[in-house]
Symmetry: none
Subunit: 240 residues, 2 copies
């Protein structure tokens, strides 16, 4: 069940296993996990290793420890950490939510929009609509500086994280981002696309991404339905 010869640490293997068991409903929300001692016994591990595993899931907001009582599956609805620069697919994956995305064919065009960081530059525009259980929850329009990301249009795949492509193909990682939050009424064509009534209020997040040698090289506009999921963010006391 756990492979101690694997290069993947045991605590990580255990965390993944517990995660999938929680997702599978073996430990429903609010229920208590087996005690640390018991888990250690079951998997042939030491208690510190078990604690390291559960600590990772606590960090992800899935578990909660109560001293003297036990370790419990949190019953609060999933918080998708969408606003922390971790990547859209990743943040849903971390909560065990199956995301079905459709990606429009990338278009290359010259940006002509006031306030856009790529104003009057060539950009590759990706539009991605993501659904959970068939219901549209997120529409993203992402513009990449065409000069900084040559050939991007041919690289994108429906189920490949954009952050992966940027990381592996261009060797670039966003270092920071500016983002702003606004409640807007959804433009008619987008409302139709998302299957919402025209004029629905929705959360729009505009994010400008900064890379090491290329500040403001990408811009993302995200329309988020917040009635279905709580989109969240983890912030530290000290921040960039």
């Amino acid at each position: 069940m756990l492979n101690s010869a694997s290069p993947i640490p045991l605590y990580h293997q255990l965390a993944e296993r517990l995660f999938s068991e929680i997702r599978a409903g073996r430990y429903p929300p609010g229920s208590r996990l087996p005690s640390e001692h018991e888990l250690a016994e079951t998997f042939g591990l030491g208690r510190p290793t078990v604690r390291q595993a559960t600590a990772a899931l606590i960090q992800r907001g899935l578990l909660e420890r109560r001293r003297g009582s036990g370790t419990y599956v949190r019953s609060v609805p999933a918080q998708v950490d969408l606003f922390s620069l971790a990547g859209t697919l990743m943040s849903f994956e971390a909560q065990g939510i199956a995301l079905a995305s459709e990606l429009d064919r990338p278009r290359t065009e010259t940006i002509d929009e006031a306030g856009h960081p790529l104003q009057s530059r060539e950009a590759v525009r990706l539009t991605r609509l993501s659904r959970v259980d068939g219901e549209a929850v997120l529409l993203e329009e992402i513009d990449f500086d065409a000069e900084r990301f040559p050939g991007l249009a041919r690289l994108v795949r429906k189920d490949r994280a954009l952050s992966d492509i940027v990381e592996q193909h261009y060797r670039m990682r966003p270092e920071s981002a500016d983002q702003s939050f606004r409640v807007v009424t959804l433009p008619r064509p987008l409302a139709k696309r998302m299957g919402l009534a025209a004029g629905s209020a929705i959360l729009r997040v505009d994010r400008t991404l900064h890379f090491a040698l290329a500040p403001s090289a990408a811009f993302a506009r995200m329309y988020c339905r917040t009635d279905r999921f709580a989109f969240s963010q983890r912030i530290g006391a000290s921040h960039a």
Copy 2:
């Protein structure tokens, strides 16, 4: 130097000590800390305890570990005030414009709200309404665990930052927070208070504050008008 008889855990004492030494400049940004073995020796602790201490500071973004090399001080970013939305989100238009705030008299009550981290506990509730140019743009309800912050109700002043009170009187600092964003229709009494039509769509940010030895000890619910002021923030890449 470290007191093992104290109810405060040794790892926390060490973390605080390292934190103040870093802040005092003993370990400047980019410099290497003494090795874990060395720290353990110096303070008469085991290495796991030392690691627990540095782990807390890594969590806070102050340190960084490099395998095989050492533990290093990160160039420390600016501190943000997690107690107010203005401390973490800044308005483009309102930058440089004074926010006029009015603070209600604190009330102590038992929380009975699903999903609230202080559920069924006693809490001190502060309500703060902020205006720009006489127009209400932000309504904040901040709940503190009454047990963790005894006497808080008598300490709050309009012109004194909550972070100062908590820091100086309770010796606590929020280490991190997570917050979720939702578009909601404003409850009638609050709509009236903010001078908006009942049923207006507004951005609601729910933030849970985490302290070193008291996770989720405070909760803030913030209602933001984003029609006239776009709330924006700068975020850094996560240092996981």
